[in-house]
């Protein structure tokens, strides 16, 4: 669709160069670790070598004797203020610092405050902790067996390690559909623990001003406003009242969900600043980041699909065991303990479905959903897209044909899914057909057949995913009771320039550009003249932050609505200036003109000037508006991805030869930025599919706890991604957009896994768990007698 505005205005549809980039390419970004305040001291953390142990004693004398060490904080210190435990976003509790026992390897045990970071590290080395090791539970299945050691001994009535049972759908009708099915398939699918590993780790500078009783926290957070409220709720009893708390989220070096939770380090730094009356900086290192911060996945899924002989899918049944670590600290909306996993019916018109999730405590760090995904959508999509291929294989049907046969049809939208969602819009056959035509699917199948004759291993994998993003409508979505609206505030200055502030917080998504483009589209003010600000709770309107692809569906929508409120007032001013009635005025981007007399016009800049210098009698001066947008529904982006792999029979290495992503995120604000989001999302989808995994041995020792063995994709493994688009606008969003930041992370893993299994399907291979490492593939090749 051609943009409505000129390149000078750069409204929607323009690939405007990013407004935030000039500071980043000069090394002038301002990240948390760049902040240096007068008198600032440094915090470093003592961590547990054991996965489960009683703390017998913590000896701090030697640490306190290190020159430059100012204080050592333990759980006992915090206990005096009742700050040694804190609530999680899922109404569970987790430790800030332990007073009794540690529950996972690398858990915080004590904190050392010193004059510089090297001395703080010296202090950490000098703290001596006596532990008594306790039995370790790492397997969630064993955790739920009778007689398993009960981990949460802090909870008086807790007699087991079960956290919750959650289910949705009609179990009886689904069971009946399975009983009546011609064909059923069943697969165990495990999605292991992974970690977002944004290149900037987490940290903060907490600055408590004793004289004013005022706390400022510069913090790596994706949700500064919610964090301010959480601090007030957790620490209100020690005098931190919300009007005296300011949270500033400066430039953020990648978030991907890992910077939503409140980690103990933040709380300890705040407590230390309050106690010492000095600014305290805490910045974790990479190893701490990987070993202790929120993980994602760890879902043990059993997926079953029922169908007729002709391939018509009839029912889906999924049972899952979730390993949450020692606390339920997943940052889900409060009413959704398994997130939005019930999107697992995917892109298919499934009449019957039932899914259930049980969650268990284990001796691992808490977390659960932080990896560039809208609350367990990745797990859901992997399950449905993998089991769909298993069905195709059993029926000996082409996986593209099976998908086309079962897609929800374009005319069925808005579509009510068997598990209760109302999909807003979609055209699934169009996306898959575009992917098939663009990549030359028939030719690739031909090539594959020829290669098989020669013993070469080539696979083609498809994933036709549906996402669910933009949480969310206040009737269902809240976090600790705070509804998941989001906000925009726009002020037009007398010279026709604007400032716009939002409740969200960019971590690289380019909000300073895209939000300015929305204002440009709605008001005709050049995007270059719109200053966008986020992340300072003293100035920005309240909002729930940026994660789960919610910025465009919520704050982006609020931006358009606020701009339209401004346009309404601008129309009244224009009518006054033109001595015309409002009904006689027409709008085109940037000006109102009198119908039939286009020379009689007032530009938005002229109107803005008049709003402060010559406003109509009886009208308030100024030109500004605020909107708190409560989305009527979520948005449902979708796409079809096709991946082509070649497998080395000598090493088992999987090489992605081609990967085409056809995405549909509705109307697009900035095509360049959307493609950038897709490229990055695909790479973060490839990562767990082929490389990344965090696992634990029986004693709870981590593997994948540093970049030595947690393998992020480099430019060498990453293919040159191909992208294409279809456009199916959201009918309920003010400008028809859907979220896009996470589509590719969600859609890519099953496309890659399906391609690898496809390459080996003639050998009888039906499923391989991710990450599909060379070792796993080579072991299969060896078993099948085709390894070279």
């Amino acid at each position: 669709m051609a943009p409505r505005t000129s390149a000078e205005v750069s409204g929607m549809g323009h690939s405007m160069k990013r407004k935030e980039d000039p500071r980043f390419i000069r090394g002038q970004g301002r990240y948390v670790d760049d902040i240096k305040l007068p008198g600032m001291v440094h915090l470093d953390i003592v961590r547990s070598p054991y996965a489960h142990a009683r703390i017998k004693a913590i000896h701090t004398e030697k640490a306190l004797a290190v020159p430059g060490v100012l204080a050592v904080i333990t759980g006992k210190t915090l206990e005096q203020f009742n700050l040694h435990w804190m609530p999680t976003l899922m109404s569970d509790t987790q430790m800030v610092l332990p007073t009794e026992k540690v529950m996972y390897q690398a858990q915080e045990v004590a904190a050392v405050i010193a004059t510089d970071r090297y001395t703080a590290a010296d202090g950490v080395e000098a703290v001596e902790v006596e532990y008594e090791p306790l039995p370790v539970v790492v397997d969630p299945f064993k955790a739920l067996e009778p007689g398993a050691p009960v981990l949460r001994t802090d909870k008086k009535d807790k007699k087991d390690n079960h956290i919750f049972h959650w289910e949705v759908g009609d179990r009886a009708a689904t069971d009946a559909a399975f009983a009546a099915a011609d064909v059923t398939v069943k697969e165990q699918i495990y999605l292991p623990r992974i970690h977002v590993a944004s290149i900037e780790t987490c940290g903060c500078v907490a600055d408590f001003d004793r004289a004013m009783g005022h706390l400022t926290v510069y913090m790596t957070t994706q949700a500064p406003h919610a964090i301010r409220t959480v601090i007030a709720l957790v620490a209100g009893h020690v005098g931190l009242s919300e009007e005296r708390i300011r949270v500033v989220s400066p430039d953020i070096g990648g978030g991907f969900g890992g910077k939503v939770p409140v980690y103990p380090g933040y709380v300890i730094a705040i407590a230390a600043s309050v106690v010492l009356g000095k600014p305290v900086k805490w910045v974790e290192d990479r190893t701490e980041n990987l070993q202790a911060d929120s993980f994602a996945r760890d879902y043990h899924i059993t997926a079953e699909l029922a169908a007729k002989k002709d391939g018509t899918m009839t029912a889906l049944r999924i049972k899952t065991l979730a390993d949450h670590g020692y606390a339920d600290a997943a940052a889900n909306p409060s009413k959704f303990p398994a997130g939005l996993f019930s999107i697992c019916t995917g892109s298919y018109d499934l009449k019957h479905a039932f899914t259930e999730v049980d969650a268990a405590y284990t001796n691992k760090p808490p977390g659960g959903i932080a990896y560039r995904c809208s609350f367990r959508v990745t797990e859901a999509v992997h399950a449905i897209e993998r089991i769909t291929d298993v069905l195709a294989q059993k029926l000996a049907m082409d996986p593209a044909e099976l998908r086309l046969k079962n897609f929800i049809k374009p005319e069925q939208f808005p579509y009510k899914s068997a598990l209760g969602w109302e999909y807003d819009s979609g055209n699934y056959p169009a996306a898959l057909k575009l992917a098939i035509d663009t990549i030359g699917y028939a030719e690739l199948r031909q090539e594959q057949a020829e290669k098989r004759q020669k013993g070469e291993l080539m696979g083609i994998g498809i994933s036709s995913f549906t996402e669910i993003v933009g949480a969310g409508p206040s009737k269902q979505f809240d976090i600790l009771g705070i509804k998941m609206f989001d906000s925009a505030e726009i002020r037009i200055h007398p010279t026709g320039k604007a400032i716009a502030r939002f409740g969200t917080k960019s971590q690289g998504q380019g909000h300073e550009t895209t939000y300015a483009q929305i204002v440009a589209e709605e008001l005709g003010i050049p995007a270059a003249h719109v200053q966008v600000e986020e992340g300072d709770t003293d100035t920005a309107p309240y909002g729930l932050g940026t994660y789960a692809s919610r910025s465009t569906p919520t704050s982006g929508a609020a931006c358009a609505v606020a701009a339209r409120k401004i346009r309404e007032k601008a129309k009244k001013i224009a009518a006054y200036l033109l001595e015309a009635s409002e009904e006689d005025l027409e709008w085109e981007p940037g000006k109102f003109y009198v119908k039939g007399a286009p020379q009689k016009a007032k530009t938005i800049q002229e109107i803005a000037f008049a709003a402060y210098t010559n406003h109509p009698p009886g009208m308030e001066a100024g030109l500004e508006a605020v909107d708190y947008y409560d989305p009527p529904n979520l948005t449902f982006p979708f796409g079809s991805y096709i991946c082509v792999v070649d497998i080395d029979r000598g090493t088992g290495a999987v090489k992605i030869r081609r990967f085409l992503a056809v995405d549909d995120c509705g109307n697009i604000i900035n095509p360049m930025i959307v493609d950038g989001q897709i490229h990055g999302g695909l790479t973060m989808g490839m990562a767990p599919a082929l490389l990344e995994e965090i696992s634990y041995d029986e004693s709870g020792n981590i593997s994948g706890g540093s970049f030595m063995d947690y393998l992020l994709p480099t430019a060498m493994e990453t293919p040159s991604w191909e992208t294409a688009k279809t456009v199916t606008p959201s009918p309920h969003h003010p400008f028809g957009a859907k979220g896009v930041g996470e589509s590719a992370t969600v859609g890519a893993p099953p496309a890659i896994a399906n391609a690898v299994v496809d390459a080996l399907s003639h050998l009888g291979v039906r499923h391989i768990d991710i990450p599909i490492t060379p070792e796993k593939v080579w072991t299969i090749l060896k078993e099948k007698g085709v390894a070279e």
Binding site: Y31, D33, A197
Partner: protein
């Protein structure tokens, strides 16, 4: 802890300081000289966010001691712009959307700059090889490759 007097030429200007033996070059740049454009992203020399040029060669400044830079020349991201004019590698990253969160960007810029000094017309494979020690979590590298190609095109003398 022993202290050492060092003199390091940073963006062509000599800077002197007394530093501990163990002080890393990246901390010397960030905390002693206040050049915070060079970032820290890991503790195992994998991510490359801290890449700077030492006597013209890209190094990971988290794995060089400040004392090892004594008497040598260091160029950081802050030294790329000359006389208020962006270097073509900076232009390329802006033009081709070669950055998102900006955190790995300084290291990528320095690695890309060094590559183009050594190889004015690198192929895609050569660019990917050169930046393989710099991790980016946002871009998927596609536009970084384009950004380096853009800079190569800008730096090449125009054919007569």
């Amino acid at each position: 802890m022993a202290k050492h007097q060092i003199r390091v030429k940073v963006q062509g200007t000599e800077r002197a300081a007394e530093v501990e033996s163990r002080l890393l070059l990246v901390h010397f740049l960030r905390e002693v000289l206040g050049l915070t454009g060079t970032h820290i992203g890991c503790d195992t020399t994998h991510c490359g966010a801290c890449t700077v040029l030492l006597d013209g060669q890209p190094v990971k400044s988290c794995t060089v001691l400040a004392v090892q830079a004594d008497g040598r020349e260091v160029t950081t991201v802050e030294g790329l712009e000359q006389d208020g004019k962006l270097h073509p590698i900076q232009e390329g990253f802006w033009q081709e959307h070669g950055l998102q969160c900006g955190y790995c960007t300084p290291g990528m810029l320095m690695t890309g700059y060094a590559l183009l000094q050594a190889n004015p017309d690198p192929s895609e494979a050569e660019i990917r090889q050169a930046i393989s020690g710099n991790l980016c979590r946002c871009t998927g590298y596609v536009n970084i490759v384009k950004a380096v190609r853009y800079a190569a095109g800008k730096l090449r003398p125009n054919p007569a």
